[in-house]
Amino acid sequence: MTATTDSVRPTVLEARDMTRRFGGLVAVNKVSFDVREGEIFGLIGPNGAGKTTLFNLMTGLTPPSSGTLTYKGQTVTGLAPHRVAALGLSRTFQNIRLFRGLSALENVKISQHIRTRAGLWQGVFGTARAEELGVERRAWELLDLVGLSDRAGELAANFSYGDQRRLEIARALATEPRVLLLDEPAAGMNTSEKGQLTSFIREVRDRFDLTVLLIEHHVPLVMGLCDRVAVLNFGELIAIGDPASVQRDPKVIEAYLGGE
């Protein structure tokens, strides 16, 4: 249904009939889609459409009522969040959930947990020096990447909104993901920050060889950045395709205009 060049890339994520009910409310209803390797995949929709819930289902924070998600053939649904992270899916949060009482550097060091091994006694006897040094270095490098290394020692809570969002991305990258899920990365950023964000996300995708999923409200950013876009409305997937065709889809127009 979309540009032919995309179909050359192999599929990495397959969502099949993912559903989540909260009591009588169906927050996500039989959502199925594929995400291809290396693409930037946008998830849009009006408020309350179920976008964040879908992210939560994909990352193990909320178990789905039914349906499955697979990553390169491995089942993701049913795994605890830390197992999902180990598999290579990492995320940021709409409401920013940094470790607020810890420094920026600590935030990024913590997320290397699954890629390191030192246990309790190795830590206590200091026998994992090399690994520890590696963690430290990598944390600094990631802070360099998001431009926050000059404030590495500051508490996460003290950063501005935009900086916190970038720190969250650095923290997510520290888990060495293959798929990065960004929940409204531009929220709270000003226009120039938004502009930088577009190129930054592409740059990150290219350098780390990632697949990126992002939820975004800011339509110009989605249209300029995403290879493909899926539209959710009232928990259902109503359109999927390249940004231009989705933008013309009458169901999408109606969902956006009808809601207002």
Binding site: F22, T62, N95
Partner: protein, 324 residues
């Protein structure tokens, strides 16, 4: 179990369970509004019993700084009259309520003003509890004081009836405890469910911020809550004291602890939950076979532990959905 034994246990359980309920309500009211556990609640319970005892008997003959002082040199004006015993109980509960208000002002309010960790409230209320307990010890010593047997006036000490050829005995004091507790619960239910004060209380409990936007003075309702909490605690203290004696300054500690089990069992912050929890624990204790009576005190905590693991929000508590 024989029917007579069953009825006997049921009566015992309802009596003690109803006291647990009103005592635990005092905890739950404060928790629902401030989100803190007031560890001094057990001490307020003790105080209520001592205040009532003072009004009924007028002297502490055993020990402490108040030894030898007699409020009523010609014998107590209260003892032996049901009406006046009731009045003493009421005054005792009111004073306990005022003490609770004082505790809120001295130990909790300054902490809220500083935005301190709510955990600190555990420590400061522990401090208050130590102060109260040791003051009581200083004043009247550590002895047990028993209410005079005719405290309620000239009524028979117990009722007995027969089921088959077995006798079931219900102490008068159990009937009084149960009746007073039920009346208290009915009044409280009415106040919270039907009156403006009650609605405002619930609004504050739901969300302090919104409540102040609605023009409700949160501070005033915190005071009312503490008064009610202290009143209920003090009343419970008197009721237990008349049944089993006022058992020294540490009298309330066991009940304070059991009250925690009650509110968690029922669901923290849930008012019907506190009542249900109280009755469940009272009955469960009453049905512990006599051979295992030494383990009676463990029942409440075993129930608490189990309920927390099976249904962490308690019997009637609402489970919170975490927002991501």
């Amino acid at each position: 179990m024989e029917l007579s034994q069953f009825v006997q246990n049921l009566m015992n359980g309802l009596a003690i369970g109803s006291v647990y309920a009103i005592f635990a309500l005092g905890y739950t009211l404060v928790f629902s509004i401030l989100g803190i556990i007031n560890f001094a609640h057990g001490a307020v319970f003790t105080l209520g019993a001592y205040f009532t005892y003072t009004l009924v008997v007028g002297q502490f003959e055993n020990n402490g700084l108040l030894k030898g002082i007699n409020l009523f040199p010609n014998g107590s004006p209260f003892a032996g009259h049901a009406l006046t015993f009731g009045l003493a109980t009421l005054i005792g509960a009111v004073v306990a309520g005022l003490v609770a208000v004082l505790i809120e002002r001295l130990a909790f309010k300054p902490m809220r003003a500083r935005g301190a960790d709510t955990l600190m409230a555990l420590v400061s209320s522990l401090g208050v509890s130590l102060v109260v307990i040791n003051l009581i010890q200083l004043m009247v010593g550590a002895e047990i004081y028993n209410f005079p047997s005719n405290a309620y006036g000239d009524v028979p000490p117990a009722l007995s009836f027969h089921i088959g050829d077995k006798t079931v005995i219900i102490r008068t004091v159990q009937i009084i405890i149960f009746a007073v507790s039920m009346v208290m619960l009915a009044i409280l239910g009415y106040v919270i469910g039907r009156t403006r004060v009650g609605k405002a209380l619930r609004a504050v409990a739901e969300n302090p911020g919104t409540a102040s936007l609605l023009g409700i003075s949160v501070d005033r309702f915190i005071l009312i809550t503490f008064f009610l909490s202290g009143f209920l605690g003090g009343l419970a203290g008197t009721l237990v004291g008349t049944a089993f004696g006022v058992a020294g300054p540490y009298f309330g500690v066991t009940y304070g602890l059991k009250g925690l089990a009650v509110i968690v069992l029922g669901g923290l912050g849930s008012i019907p939950g506190a009542v249900l929890g109280g009755l469940v624990i009272g009955l469960a204790e009453a049905f512990v076979p006599a051979d295992y009576s030494a383990y009676k005190d463990v029942v409440a905590f075993a129930l608490l532990f189990v309920i927390l693991l099976v249904r962490p929000q308690g019997l009637l508590g609402k489970s919170a959905i975490q927002k991501v």
